[in-house]
C-alpha cells in the first residue's frame, strides 16, 4: 500500500537515550500506530464528513427557506408581480455570480463529483461549495424549478474533499473522499440514508466496492442524524395509507411505468437537446438565460400554477392526499418538465431530484385517478400511485433502478408497495433505456466534453472469464509421487511443451519437456519427481474468475491449472498465455 499511514513506518528513532520519561510516549505512539492506520482513520473521518455535511445542509435548507420567505413570502399567499419578477431578477444575480465569481458551479453536482473522483484526483475546490450554497439557495429560494438535493450532494463532496486535502491523505483515499461526502450531502437533503448510499454507488462511484461502502454508510448516517437533530425527523411528505391487495392491480402500475418511462424520455431529451444549444450561444446570453428561465417559471406560476416553483414538496404532499383533479395533475407534470428543463439548461445551480419526484408524483396521481375511474374495483389509493410515480420517474429519468425502489420504500416506510414499485420502475427503466440510450448524467458529461464511467455501462460490458479461455484437461498429467523416468516415458509421445504435475497431498506444479528431459539425462530417473522439482507455488484459478485475474500469472508460468471450487484436486482445465491472449484478441 502506498499510503503514508499503512506503510508501517515507525516514528523516527530518537537520538536521546531511552529513559523512563521517553518510554511512555514511545509506547503511546506505537499503540497509536496500531489503532490509527489509514483505514481506521478514514472510517472515523467519514463520521466527521457526515457531521460537517449535515451541518452545511441544515444551513443550506435554512438559506433556501429564508430566501423563499423573504423574496416570495409563504407560497400559498404569494400573489401578483412578485411571482415572476423575483425569479427573473434572482436569475440575473445568479448569472453574474456564476459567470464571474463561481464559474465551477455550473452544471450537475453529481457529474462534478464524478469528475472529481475519476479525473481530478478527488479535488473539488471549497469555493465550489460556497458558490453552490449561495447561488442554489438564491435560485431555488426565488422559485426556479430546481431541487436542493444535487447542490447538497456537491456541498458534501466539496467539504469532504477540502478536509482530505487539509489532512494530506493519500491520493487513493482523497479520490474516495468526494463520494463519501456526496453520500452525506444527499442523505441529509433527502433524510434518507439508504437511498443516498445506493445512489452514490449506482451513479457516482459506478461500482460496488467493499472498501468504500463502510465509509459511505457512516457518513450518510451521521449526516442524517445531524439533520434530524436540527430539523426533526418528519418525512418529506405525509404518507397516505397505501394498499396493494390484488395482483391484477399490477397491470395498472405497469401502465404507470409505461407513462412514466415515456415522460422520462421526453424530459431527458428536452434537456439533452437544449443544454448544448444554450451553451453554444454567445457568452453575453448567459447573463440572461437564468433570468429568462426564471421569468418563464414565474409566468407559469402567475398564470395559475405556482406549485411548479421551487422543489415543490408541498404540492407533492397535496397530490398524495388527492387534492388535485387528474387534469390538474397532468398539466402540472407537463409544466414542471418545461420549467425544470429551462431552469436547468439555463445554468442556474440546482438539482433535478426534487423536480423528478414532482413530475413522477403528478403523473402517478393522474394515472391513478384515471385507473380508479375506469376500474373502480382497484384498491390502491391515489396516494399510492403518487408514491409509486415518484419512483417511476427516478428509475426512468435518473436511470438508478435500485435507488428508485429503495427511495420509495424509505420515504414511505411501507414495505407493502414494493411489488408495485418494482413492476412500475422496471417498465419505466426499460422504456427509458430503449428510447434514450445514454442516461441523462452521462449525456450531460459528454456534452461538456468529459467521458465518465457509469454503472449502467459497466453492467452491460461483456466480462471475459477464465472458462472462456480455458483449455481442455490435458491427456497427460504427471504425478509428483512417480519417478522421474516413469513420468518421462509418459510424455515421450506427447507433443506438449509443458505439463501439469499433481502434488501430494494437494496442489499443482508445472514442468517443461526440456526440464524433464534434463532430469532424466542427469540420471535422476529413480528419484521421485516431487523431490527434484523446484519449490514454487503454482496458483490455481477457478473457471468463474474474471479473465483479468489470470493476466498477472500467465507471464510467469507456462500453464496454470483451473480447478473446481468444491474440490481443488479436480482439474477443470488449464490456461496458458496464448489461450488468454487469443481470447482477448478474438
Amino acid at each position: 500500500m502506498s499510503s503514508p499511514v499503512s506503510t508501517g513506518s515507525s516514528p523516527a528513532p530518537s537520538p536521546q537515550p531511552i529513559t523512563a520519561r521517553t518510554q511512555i510516549p514511545s509506547r503511546l505512539f506505537s499503540t497509536l500506530e496500531g489503532v490509527f492506520n489509514e483505514e481506521v482513520f478514514f472510517l472515523i473521518l467519514s463520521v466527521f464528513i457526515g457531521i460537517f455535511s449535515g451541518l452545511a445542509v441544515v444551513c443550506f435548507r435554512l438559506a433556501i427557506d429564508w430566501m423563499h420567505l423573504s423574496l416570495l413570502g409563504p407560497l400559498p399567499q404569494t400573489h401578483g408581480w412578485r411571482l415572476f419578477a423575483v425569479p427573473a431578477l434572482a436569475g440575473l444575480v445568479v448569472a453574474v455570480l456564476v459567470i464571474h465569481v463561481f464559474p465551477g458551479i455550473r452544471g450537475s453536482g453529481v457529474n462534478q463529483t464524478k469528475a472529481a473522483l475519476y479525473i481530478f484526483n478527488g479535488v473539488i475546490p471549497f469555493r465550489t461549495a460556497v458558490g453552490k450554497f449561495l447561488c442554489a439557495a438564491l435560485a431555488i429560494g426565488s422559485g426556479q424549478s430546481l431541487g436542493p438535493e444535487d447542490p447538497s450532494l456537491q456541498i458534501g463532496a466539496s467539504i469532504a474533499s477540502a478536509l482530505g486535502r487539509q489532512l494530506q491523505i493519500s491520493r487513493e483515499k482523497l479520490r474516495l473522499m468526494a463520494p463519501v461526502g456526496a453520500a452525506a450531502g444527499l442523505a441529509a437533503a433527502f433524510n434518507a440514508p439508504i437511498s443516498a448510499v445506493l445512489f452514490v454507488i449506482e451513479e457516482v462511484i459506478g461500482r460496488w466496492s467493499a472498501g468504500i461502502l463502510g465509509s459511505v454508510v457512516l457518513s450518510a448516517v451521521s449526516s442524517v442524524v445531524i439533520v434530524r437533530w436540527f430539523l426533526g425527523s418528519e418525512p418529506l411528505f405525509r404518507i397516505p395509507v397505501t394498499t396493494f391487495k390484488r395482483p391484477t392491480e399490477l397491470v395498472a402500475y405497469a401502465v404507470l411505468g409505461i407513462v412514466g418511462g415515456l415522460a422520462s424520455v421526453v424530459f431527458a431529451k428536452s434537456i439533452g437537446y437544449l443544454h448544448p444549444r444554450l451553451n453554444a450561444l454567445p457568452r453575453w446570453t448567459q447573463y440572461l438565460q437564468p433570468s429568462l428561465a426564471g421569468l418563464f417559471v414565474g409566468l407559469i406560476a402567475f398564470l395559475g400554477a405556482p406549485q411548479i416553483m421551487g422543489a415543490g414538496y408541498d404540492s407533492m404532499d397535496q397530490a398524495m392526499h388527492g387534492q388535485y383533479a387528474w387534469k390538474i395533475l397532468a398539466i402540472l407534470a407537463i409544466l414542471k418538465i418545461l420549467a425544470t428543463t429551462l431552469s436547468f439548461v439555463s445554468g442556474s445551480p440546482g438539482g433535478m431530484f426534487a423536480p423528478t419526484l414532482f413530475i413522477g408524483a403528478m403523473l402517478g396521481g393522474a394515472v391513478g385517478d384515471r385507473m380508479h375511474h375506469f376500474f373502480p374495483h382497484l384498491t390502491g389509493s391515489t396516494g399510492t400511485y403518487v408514491l409509486v410515480g415518484m419512483g417511476v420517474l427516478f428509475a426512468g429519468f435518473l436511470r438508478v433502478p435500485m435507488t428508485s425502489v429503495f427511495m420509495v420504500l424509505e420515504v414511505s416506510g411501507n414495505y407493502e408497495i414494493i411489488v408495485p414499485v418494482i413492476v412500475a420502475n422496471t417498465f419505466s427503466y426499460l422504456i427509458s433505456r430503449s428510447l434514450q440510450h445514454v442516461p441523462i448524467f452521462d449525456l450531460l458529461t459528454r456534452q461538456d466534453g468529459l467521458i465518465l464511467p457509469s454503472l449502467e455501462e459497466n453492467r452491460e460490458e461483456t466480462i471475459l472469464r477464465v472458462e472462456d479461455a480455458m483449455l481442455a484437461v490435458p491427456s497427460t498429467i504427471l504425478s509428483a509421487q512417480d519417478y522421474v523416468d516413469a513420468n518421462y516415458h509418459r510424455v515421450e509421445d506427447s507433443t506438449d511443451a509443458a505439463f501439469l504435475v499433481r502434488l501430494h497431498p494437494s496442489g499443482w506444479n508445472v514442468i517443461s519437456r526440456e526440464q524433464l528431459q534434463r532430469l532424466f539425462k542427469e540420471g535422476k530417473g529413480e528419484l521421485m519427481l516431487g523431490s527434484v522439482l523446484p519449490k514454487q507455488f503454482l496458483p490455481s484459478l477457478y473457471p468463474d474468475l474474471p479473465l483479468d485475474s489470470a493476466l498477472r500469472y500467465v507471464n510467469n508460468y507456462p500453464l496454470i491449472p483451473v480447478v473446481n471450487r468444491a474440490d481443488s484436486r479436480r482439474l477443470e482445465g488449464m490456461i496458458s498465455r496464448e489461450s488468454v491472449f487469443n481470447k482477448y484478441g478474438s
Binding site: P4, V5, P11, F29, L32, E33, V35, F36, N37, E38, F41, I44, L45, F48, I51, F52, L55, V58, C59, L62, D65, W66, L69, G73, P74, L75, P76, Q77, Q166, L167, Q168, I169, I226, F230, L231, G232, E234, R238, I239, P240, D314, Q318, H321, G322, Q323, S381, G383
Partner: protein
C-alpha cells in the same frame, strides 16, 4: 491558506481528531444558534398566519383559512396546532376530496399523541363526515377518555353529546341510548344540560329517560316551559295521558304560543274523555263511552270507504277489508243492548276490540285519523302494548 491541519500520520491522529471534534462542536453550536433564531422568526410569522386562519375559519371563509394555515405550516412545519387547525378547516370546507388530507394530518398527529382529546375529536368528526359509525364511535370515545387541556368534564360531556347526536342521525338509537345513560350519570346540576339530555332521550325514543331529565329540570325551574312541554310529550308518548294532560296544561299556561303542546293537550283530553277503561268512571259512563266509540267507528268506516270509493254494502266488493269490518260492526251492534247486563263482563272488551280493529285498519288504509278517531287509535295502541 492561513492554517493547515497536521499531515495525517499516526502521531498526529489524536491532534487531528481533537481539532475535528472541536470544529464539529463549534459548528454544531453555530448551527444551533442559527436554527434557533430562524425557528423563532418563523414561529412568529407562523403565529400571525395562524391568527389570520383562525379568524377566516370562524367567519366561514375556509379557502382563506386553508391558505393561511398552509402558509403557517410552511413557516413552522412541525407545529401540531397549525396542523390541527388546517385539518379542521379542510374538514369543514365541505369538499369531500379534502377529507383525505385532513385525515392524514390528524392521523399523523394522533400517532404522535394518541391521548390528545382534541385530535381524537377532530378525527371523530372526520369519521362522522364519512358516515363511519365504528370509527367515529372509537374516536369519540378516545376523545372522552383523552387528555383535555381545559374544562375536561365539560369537553367530555360535549363530545358524548356530539356522539349521541351522530348516532341518532345515523339511525342507531340503541347505541345512542347507552351513551345517553352514561351521559345522564355525568350531568352537572344545571337545567340546560338536563334539558339537552332530555331532548336527546326523547329523540332516542327513551320516554322514561326523557321524563327523568325533564323532571330534573323542573326541580331547578318549575315553570320551565320547554321542560313542561317535554315532560308532557314524554308522558303522552308513554300513554300516561292523565299525567301528560297535567304537564301539557301547565306548559300551555306558561307558553300559550306552544302549538305542539296545545295539540298534544287536546289529544290527551280527547283520549281521557273517550276512553271507557278509566277505573274512576261509573258503569253508565263507561257504557256511554263504549256506545259513542262504536258509533264513531262506524262513522270512520264510512268516511274511509267513501274516500277510497268502496261500497260497504255486501256485493262484488265483499273481499275488501272495509266491507268485512262493516259486516263485523253490523254483527256486533246488537250486543250494545246487553251492555247493561251485569253478567256480560267480557262484552265491553269485545265491543271495543271491534272499534279498535276498525280504527287500526282504517288508519292503515286511509291514513292517520284526527280527533276522537285518533284518541281511539291511541287507546287501542296503549291497550295492545299493555297486553304484550
Amino acid at each position: 491558506m492561513l492554517w493547515r491541519l497536521p499531515k495525517l500520520v499516526p502521531r498526529s491522529a489524536p491532534v487531528i481528531l481533537l481539532v475535528l471534534t472541536l470544529a464539529a462542536a463549534t459548528g454544531f453550536a453555530g448551527v444551533n444558534h442559527l436554527v434557533t433564531r430562524f425557528t423563532a422568526n418563523q414561529q412568529a410569522r407562523g403565529r400571525k398566519l395562524d391568527v389570520q386562519g383562525l379568524s377566516a375559519a370562524s367567519a366561514g371563509r375556509y379557502e382563506d383559512a386553508i391558505s393561511a394555515f398552509r402558509a403557517a405550516l410552511t413557516c413552522d412545519p412541525a407545529n401540531s396546532q397549525y396542523q390541527l387547525s388546517l385539518a379542521r378547516a379542510l374538514r369543514d370546507s365541505n369538499d369531500p376530496r379534502r377529507l383525505d388530507e385532513a385525515e392524514s394530518y390528524l392521523v399523523a398527529l394522533w400517532q404522535r399523541t394518541p391521548q390528545d382529546a382534541a385530535v381524537n375529536l377532530a378525527l371523530a368528526r372526520v369519521a362522522a363526515h364519512r358516515g363511519s359509525v365504528e370509527d367515529a364511535t372509537r374516536y369519540y370515545h378516545n376523545a372522552m377518555y383523552g387528555v383535555w387541556n381545559s374544562d375536561p368534564d365539560g369537553n367530555r360531556r360535549r363530545a358524548r353529546i356530539e356522539l349521541i347526536q351522530f348516532l341518532l342521525k345515523k339511525d342507531a338509537p340503541e347505541r345512542a341510548e347507552s351513551e345517553l345513560m352514561a351521559l345522564a350519570t355525568s350531568l352537572p346540576p344545571d337545567a340546560d344540560e338536563h334539558l339537552q339530555a332530555a331532548q336527546l332521550f326523547l329523540q332516542a325514543g327513551d320516554n322514561s329517560g326523557a321524563l327523568g331529565q325533564y323532571e330534573e329540570v323542573l326541580r331547578f325551574d318549575p315553570v320551565n316551559a320547554t321542560a313542561l312541554a317535554g315532560a308532557g310529550e314524554a308522558n303522552y308518548r308513554s300513554g300516561n295521558y292523565a299525567t301528560a294532560e297535567r304537564y301539557l296544561r301547565a306548559s300551555v299556561n306558561v307558553d300559550p304560543q306552544d302549538a305542539n303542546s296545545r295539540q298534544l293537550l287536546a289529544s290527551s283530553e280527547e283520549i281521557l274523555r273517550a276512553s271507557p277503561f278509566h277505573s274512576h268512571i261509573s258503569d253508565a259512563e263507561r257504557n256511554r263511552r263504549i256506545t259513542a266509540a262504536f258509533a264513531q267507528a262506524e262513522q270512520r268506516l264510512k268516511v274511509c270507504a267513501q274516500q277510497k270509493g268502496i261500497s260497504l254494502t255486501p256485493g262484488p266488493n265483499a273481499a275488501s277489508p272495509l266491507t268485512t269490518l262493516q259486516s263485523l260492526w253490523t254483527v256486533t251492534k246488537p250486543d250494545l243492548e246487553r251492555l247493561r247486563s251485569p253478567a256480560e263482563t267480557a262484552l265491553p272488551d269485545t265491543i271495543m276490540d271491534v272499534v279498535f280493529q276498525i280504527e287500526q285498519q282504517t288508519a292503515a288504509i286511509c291514513g292517520p285519523p284526527q280527533g276522537t278517531d285518533l284518541a281511539l287509535l291511541l287507546i287501542s295502541q296503549k291497550r295492545e302494548a299493555a297486553a304484550q
